[in-house]
Symmetry: none
Subunit: 146 residues, 4 copies
């Protein structure tokens, strides 16, 4: 059996940089967090001038993406009134974030989760998601090359 | 580059007084909090007879306005089911308030955030917002005079 | 029966000023909090350059002084290993402070508690206590004059 | 008056690297956090194999160093039974760390605090402190060069 790729610090920092570059190219000020498969922080960076909510929300988005094996932007519908996970955002001692910006990192599409990236700071969370996707793409490129 | 104005204690107290005067003129009983750019309290005042929720909500409204670079009354729509930030009020360990009364203080319109004011106690949060706006106006008048 | 004096906002602000003046005369940078008989904040001021721990510790010292009907500097011995209140500082969801700076406000010596003052920021908590005592003296002077 | 140096992301990352290099040279596995003057995270890195306590403790050590304007290793004696700050570690909602690894960053010796570095993971916190000092030295070298 092939070992899943390790989310080491060097990789985590490269993923941060990929998300930061995506933010800069969109003139956004964001925080970026990368967590491991246990949901624990590996690397974090907050751009100059980015909101102080970032250290909380970027980390918690990444944590949520690992905890629920799903991108955070996919959780809102399920967590809304009438949805199967209604109330999810109020569980987990306030650490579950259900808007965009957190995406699991998988060794391969549909594969095991090895961590997650979380981005926070853009006025529209869809832009946080786009920055997080840049980090996910960077991970895919790196891990496919192996 | 011009330095942003400092939100010192003397200023923070004047901003409190401006909000308190606005409340008195409307026969409201409120609490007023002024925080710095890190979201930490600088000055606070609770009017005689104002609710004991004020020390929590006025401070957290000001904190939220700094943390999210936005007036708290603008967050409700985005944080409601179907909105882009649905669930925001349950994140941040319960410190994010998404109804009116918290407004960021900027060195100049569109400029860097140097703190925030939070008002709580009016039966209608729109009135808390109006009192907070009086403090924001007082800051603008002071900082434009420089 | 005589009514106990009310700890109104005007009084609370004067007590803050008394503590701030005592700090300034000692070249200390502190935060000062005044809470009511319910332990809820009435007035707060943080001097320019005072530590960001102040908004937490000054408020919690005042809260503790009301909650335990005692100056916070008297709690350390009882809360130490072997003392009758061993472990007190770990109770109360982390809001009980057992070093100096919090003092109850009484209508008269030995009288009913109408609130408390809390001071934080001095390197030596004995200096925080001295500043808090200045506020207590100001209250006594005001309430005796009635 | 000269403006204090800004603790921007580029600087914060360099300080992380200085602490990481110090850890590597000592064969230690640590986490490193750099926070701003408001105690909010700017940059973080956890070495491969470092404890999962690091994301909590490194960040909270840095926060504590800012909040109390002191290196965390200086707090233990004062916070022990019989010390002037006995019980400090139980205050602040559990975020104050009173063993070594957190050091404030000052613009100049004795100058204003612009942030802090926190290191966690070494079996002996004295080694965490040594790694943090490497970051402080890097900041001093950078800011003196200006």
């Amino acid at each position: 059996m092939t070992q899943p790729p390790v989310l080491d610090l060097a990789t985590a920092r490269d993923l941060c940089d990929a998300a930061l570059a995506a933010a800069a190219s969109r003139s956004l000020l964001v925080s970026v967090a990368v967590v491991d498969a246990g949901g624990h922080l590996v690397a974090f960076a907050r751009m100059d001038g980015a909101e102080i909510a970032g250290p909380t929300l970027a980390v918690d988005k990444a944590f949520t993406a690992v905890a629920h094996s799903a991108p955070t932007h996919e959780l809102a519908v399920a967590a809304a009134p009438g949805g199967p996970l209604f109330g999810l955002h109020a569980a987990g001692q306030g650490r579950y974030v259900i808007f965009g910006g957190g995406i699991p990192l998988r060794a391969e599409p549909g594969g095991v989760i090895v961590g997650a990236v979380g981005v926070s700071g853009a006025p529209d969370p869809a832009d946080d998601t786009a920055c997080a996707e840049a980090a996910v793409d960077a991970a895919a490129a790196r891990w496919t090359r192996r």
